[in-house]
């Protein structure tokens, strides 16, 4: 995203956050988007988180083969990795692919079929009506999905570890309950909030300014996912640097 694009992105966000014409209509759109982003992504996030947790446990157990390291460390490393990095970031990248491409292609198609022009001619603030509900749904539902992802990732670690025999049930539970710092949850939720904003606003921007036809909509969709993923990783570093 070069400076011109960044400037247009900021102006689009400014227009999106203008006072809604009718709150009732916007609320309905927000709940629809919450359903799409939150409920619609639950299955995917659950499967990915459980498997990542299980694989993490096996890999930590593989790497920490030493008589000097207690096996309880497997649980605590898995817990902190899941909470601080894997659940927020992997979930966000997966959601950028699933939701980001859908948002970009939906808004892009509306642009090339003149539906956005129709909204503007009616006197409706098109960025507000189309983008604001998505952003609000993103910043509320992505943190919820991340919390679910954390729980499932740690649970997946338990299942993977105990079923493979890499760690005993008691050792894993002792590991995840020892020296727990609740602040890590705060860091993860701040990340999830920022990622939720990126996942919805960047694809909305890419879709909103599409010119052309089906090919350009597809290109915008691809660009939306790529830019979202890079933005997520950059913001991941910045938030981690600032909060830890």
């Amino acid at each position: 995203m070069n400076f011109t694009n960044f400037g247009r992105y900021i102006l689009l966000l400014k227009a999106a956050f203008r006072r809604p014409e009718k709150m009732k209509i916007y609320m309905k759109a927000i709940f629809q988007q919450m359903d799409f982003i939150g409920v619609g992504s639950l299955g995917l996030i659950s499967i990915i988180s459980t498997f990542i947790g299980a694989v993490m446990t096996l890999q930590i157990a593989f790497q920490l083969v030493s008589d000097f390291i207690p096996k309880t460390i497997i649980g605590s490393v898995n817990r902190d990795s899941s909470i601080l990095e894997l659940s927020p970031t992997i979930s966000a990248i997966v959601l950028a692919g699933k939701i980001g491409s859908a948002i970009s292609s939906e808004i892009g198609t509306m642009r090339v079929t003149e539906q956005i022009d129709a909204l503007e001619i009616m006197g409706i603030n098109a960025p507000g009506y189309l983008i604001l509900p998505k952003i609000i749904a993103g910043i509320t539902m992505v943190p919820m999905l991340v919390i679910i992802s954390m729980v499932l990732s740690i649970s997946g670690g338990y299942l993977g570890g105990t079923l493979s025999g890499a760690v005993s049930s008691a050792e894993y539970i002792q590991g995840i309950t020892t020296d727990f710092n609740p602040y890590t949850i705060t860091v993860a939720l701040v990340k999830a909030f920022v990622f939720g904003f990126i996942i919805t606003s960047v694809p909305a921007y890419e879709g909103f300014y599409v010119k052309g036809g089906a090919l350009e909509v597809a290109q915008a969709s691809t660009r939306a996912v790529v830019v979202s993923c890079i933005s997520i990783l950059a913001c991941d570093y910045i938030v981690t640097q600032l909060l830890l």
Binding site: E21, T109, T113, E114, Q115, A118, I121, M122, G123
Partner: protein
């Protein structure tokens, strides 16, 4: 009345509109005609604010549209109805929801009042009972009629139609043309139709503005258009074999 004064618009080095002026009166069907690339759709988009002209002004009953801020523009846009070339119906909404959309946004009417208005508009375009269909289930002509129904839902003072006949068979085109003319006379709207369809020109052109290479070449009515000596206009009007044959017979 809508008045345009000295409209200039360029895209990069390509000057599309080269100083166009004119007046569009209420209660009559105003047509902007011209060949492909003559600038008629660009002029329409400048008039409704989808493009910003580099020079010139657009006046809606004396209100200078190009100088207004966003809120003031929105107030004028609430008085505008627009039929798009591709109808621009909202894919995710039914016919009823499409027509009800502006009513939901800008009125405090009860659901039954809004439904009554929707049914009135659908009845007006001869589509009664099609409330629950989605745009994907409609034919091209039906989409145009739903587009008109949505455009008149808010009782607009100004009605814009961008190539309302494109992609339609001649019979359906005539139905759409007559509908536009009837609505214009019935509600005394200032109607501006962008078209290159000669059936429309001869059928409903009360006032016609002919554009050629970004300039206004001629203005007049459908009764006068066939009697001009302007080569560019005659080339356009009599381009079709049918019109040429009709002229030869005369």
């Amino acid at each position: 009345m809508i008045e345009i004064k000295d409209i200039h618009k360029s895209f990069g080095d390509n000057e599309v509109l080269k100083g166009i002026s004119g007046k569009f009166k209420p209660g009559v069907t105003n047509l902007i005609i011209g060949g492909s690339g003559s600038g008629k759709t660009t002029l329409l988009k400048c008039m409704i604010g989808l493009h910003t002209p580099e020079q010139g002004s657009v006046l809606y009953d004396g209100r200078e549209f190009t100088q207004l801020n966003t809120e003031e523009r929105i107030e004028i846009r609430k008085e505008i109805g627009m039929l798009f070339q591709g109808s621009a119906l909202f894919d995710s909404m039914t016919v009823e929801e499409n027509i009800m959309f502006p009513l939901n946004m800008f009125t405090d009417q009860s659901r039954s009042e809004k439904l009554e208005r929707v049914n009135f508009c659908l009845n007006r375009v001869n589509l009664e009972g099609k409330n629950k269909l989605f745009p994907a289930e409609l034919s091209g002509g039906m989409k145009k009629r739903v587009g008109i129904a949505r455009a008149i839902a808010m009782n607009p003072k100004y009605l814009f139609c961008d190539e309302p006949n494109s992609g339609l068979d001649p019979k359906t085109s005539i139905v759409i043309d007559e509908l536009i003319k009837e609505i214009t006379e019935e509600y005394n709207t200032t109607t501006i139709v962008v078209t290159h369809d000669m059936n429309s020109v001869m059928g409903i052109g009360d006032y016609i503005m002919f554009l050629h290479e970004g300039k206004k070449f001629w203005e007049g009515s459908n009764k006068e258009i066939a009697k001009t000596d302007i080569d560019e206009l005659n080339d356009f009007v009599f381009a079709s074999r049918f019109m040429k044959a009709a002229k030869d017979k005369l």
